[in-house]
Symmetry: D4
Subunit: 148 residues, 8 copies
Amino acid sequence: MELNVYLAGQIHDDWRQELRETAEKQELPLRFFGPMENHSRSDNIGEEILGSQHDAVQKDDAASDFNNLRTQILMQKSDVVIALFGEKYKQWNTAMDAGAAAAMGKPLILIRPEDLHHPTKELANKANVVVETKEQALQALSYVFETQ
Amino acid sequence: MELNVYLAGQIHDDWRQELRETAEKQELPLRFFGPMENHSRSDNIGEEILGSQHDAVQKDDAASDFNNLRTQILMQKSDVVIALFGEKYKQWNTAMDAGAAAAMGKPLILIRPEDLHHPTKELANKANVVVETKEQALQALSYVFETQ
Amino acid sequence: MELNVYLAGQIHDDWRQELRETAEKQELPLRFFGPMENHSRSDNIGEEILGSQHDAVQKDDAASDFNNLRTQILMQKSDVVIALFGEKYKQWNTAMDAGAAAAMGKPLILIRPEDLHHPTKELANKANVVVETKEQALQALSYVFETQ
Amino acid sequence: MELNVYLAGQIHDDWRQELRETAEKQELPLRFFGPMENHSRSDNIGEEILGSQHDAVQKDDAASDFNNLRTQILMQKSDVVIALFGEKYKQWNTAMDAGAAAAMGKPLILIRPEDLHHPTKELANKANVVVETKEQALQALSYVFETQ
Amino acid sequence: MELNVYLAGQIHDDWRQELRETAEKQELPLRFFGPMENHSRSDNIGEEILGSQHDAVQKDDAASDFNNLRTQILMQKSDVVIALFGEKYKQWNTAMDAGAAAAMGKPLILIRPEDLHHPTKELANKANVVVETKEQALQALSYVFETQ
Amino acid sequence: MELNVYLAGQIHDDWRQELRETAEKQELPLRFFGPMENHSRSDNIGEEILGSQHDAVQKDDAASDFNNLRTQILMQKSDVVIALFGEKYKQWNTAMDAGAAAAMGKPLILIRPEDLHHPTKELANKANVVVETKEQALQALSYVFETQ
Amino acid sequence: MELNVYLAGQIHDDWRQELRETAEKQELPLRFFGPMENHSRSDNIGEEILGSQHDAVQKDDAASDFNNLRTQILMQKSDVVIALFGEKYKQWNTAMDAGAAAAMGKPLILIRPEDLHHPTKELANKANVVVETKEQALQALSYVFETQ
Amino acid sequence: MELNVYLAGQIHDDWRQELRETAEKQELPLRFFGPMENHSRSDNIGEEILGSQHDAVQKDDAASDFNNLRTQILMQKSDVVIALFGEKYKQWNTAMDAGAAAAMGKPLILIRPEDLHHPTKELANKANVVVETKEQALQALSYVFETQ
């Protein structure tokens, strides 16, 4: 058995790459999906495909079309969702994706620093599991495959 | 026909009360639901019912149980969801509720100041309608009932 | 028992009004929903609520937000959908609504002139019932209530 | 990961073949499904299997049975739907399939010439993405697989 | 609380009328739905609404459209389904409706004479309850309302 | 707004009656459903309706038909489920009903003495809310209606 | 692409074997499922696994448990259902399975001799396709894979 | 075809290992999933991943997060669920999982000693099949693959 894992969260640093490398080292049978990790490309994808837009609002409208198409396809293909929160950025997409995952019946792992316990408390309650590090999230998935 | 409307968003000011009063003046057949609007009670509801908890994390865990019970019951009863974003606060519950509403097939109206167009762009794309004011959100619902 | 009926179809003439009056004369326990029947208001609703848009495409984008919000709310409230086709207009919304109704498990009545049998053949196949007149559609609904 | 893509739209020219060839050149991991592309066979499939029918209406009834069986099986197998509109033909099946796809939660890409923005406005609103060319539709799907 | 009950079964005698009268005498809060009980009207409803058809097969096709429209609307409105089998008639609609009810998650009561235990064994296994008489079926529903 | 509440749990004492009386005193807009509370009647309902059975196993089979019919109808009608555990009895039906409620998306309140925290830990995790007394469960429901 | 096909119908002759052989000769990518085709084993499977039962009714109860377990597992695995009716036998399981398939959204092919058009008329209306022979049913499935 | 089978039940002895070995000897195409079978690890998994907790209740809360994540992922991957009851232990998780499986439409096999017929009667009624031994459960699954 192999599990498909959607990695929801900010796209400003390489946390997904780190997580994937750790999973690979541990030889976990996981296949990872997620949003476009190149931030400027994520912002520009609308104009890249559709050409120049009227203004910044329209540019964002166009980009979000392609980003949400991607998320919808990949989240529907996933067996479990990991959502990572941190101190920086608004992270509204992360919260939106976490809310959607729970409503779709997808098992949900929340990674957040303990400091954020108050603003994530309802998100934490919707998640199956709340951890503080990427390594713990992988431990949770590794546990699914272990029998001893 | 009467519509049940869930009002997702922050609970730090009285925007829901304003919206309800406007709707009443316009005699719109709407019944509004939402989270506990008394902020400190929302934070303390866990200890209010279960008694004192070990620490702040446990207190939050306890509170979120009751807040999410409330949200799940009321959102399932709703025909449409309005989610309001503003400049202040983290608003992760708002994003989580909006994501859940869309995944549940509930029609979704997003209210946000135009300044926030960039961080709300994927949320905007999931919403049926994006407006900037509470009055516009009510216009959208009023339009559902009008025939001329 | 009362049934909610969504009336999908073009908004260029008053076929819905005729149908409603006939139903009322026959005292059928039906409650009718449908799109905004004032055509120019349907086209302008985006600018009416959101203000002037960049161009005709954006104006249409804005209008369709409010029109689809209305359709989604009302079709979810309906027990049965009537879709009317005629010789004039593109009627793509009618076909889209009929396809959506069938996919949502809503019973579907198709009204179309026999001349249109070829281009509506797959739509006809998805419908529970295909008739040629509004009166026949109401006969079909009346039959649901009759026991003799 | 490989995606199954249903190609809804008219069957009077070879647009699907062009799209498939472009996808193959780009080595995109896509598997395409769609309606019978041989138009006269699509019209005659009822009589081909069931024998001669009473009249043109019955012939169409018979054909639509087999065409809709095909569409239902293949759309249920698909991860994403592309619907193409053009200037010619009624294209009611395209609109019906697009409406069904959205109601089934299938991600939807709409291809239409900009000239058609007005009559496709509600369809465009239901789609995840609206583009003007087949190449753009494939760019959208390619974007789903890219990480940089 | 009132329950809606769909009465699936043959339409050649007045078993539904007897059941309704018994329920009324017992003042059970039940609202009964079912197929058209006038057998010849059920067979002729297609031609009654659509006019004369080519042959007996087409006449049946036309009638079944209206009969299934009725069944789909009313079964979706029902909280529980009673399916009655007897020694006479093919009763394929009864079996079809029972199969559909179970697949839709509708609670199912099967009434059949004990002699029919062998051919109804898989139907019996799908039903919540198997009884031999209409009175027993009503006892089962009465039990739902009782607390002592 | 009124909420329907299913009360899952043992039927050996009158905890439901106490809970209903408390709710009534507090004028909470709740309508309560649950299993047959007369224990011996619950055990005998199969033979009461169907007559004497072969042996104790068959008697139980017959009774469970009617008990599960009742539970399925009433749980489908409910907006929220309360499941009560205590020190006595096997309470497998309570656990089964709680598992079913969560899988059906019904909000779930678990009442259990703290002493039982270990054997109920996975049940507790599935519940929205875990409390120790009936009064706390009603506080949780009261909170759903309060705005201050 | 390969399709899983559930073959509903009587188990008194070898029609499934004939159909499978024809499909194999035509090299159709179909995998067939169906009920136990050894009739006496189907009747005895309850006693074979559970041992001797009290009487014929109990024996049937026991057998139907295992037969319905099999049908539920295999129908959930199927992409399309073929239901065959003939002149002989009660065929209530066939009608039940056809009703269930339609309610589960499984595409449905009905095979029945034209003589049976009257008693199968509502079943025919629920099916996507109605044919008279096994060869025609396979033509319908072959058509799903053809592009010319 | 291969079936995924979730083995719900206590984790105090090696019944799953015995069942897996029997299935292997019989070369049944079954893939087994289940909870962590190392009982103390199942109890400690929360502290193993999250570190030391405040008290025994919190330790259990933490463990149940990971155990339910595992169960939800694996049960969603399963085609059929086997639930085993015995004389010892509370077995509330077994009952909870069985209730969830039935509510999710997963076919369910119940293994229980005949002595337990009374307390398992409603569980038995929800199951497709009730047997007394692991060997009988495997016979039931073997029967799904047999054609003679």
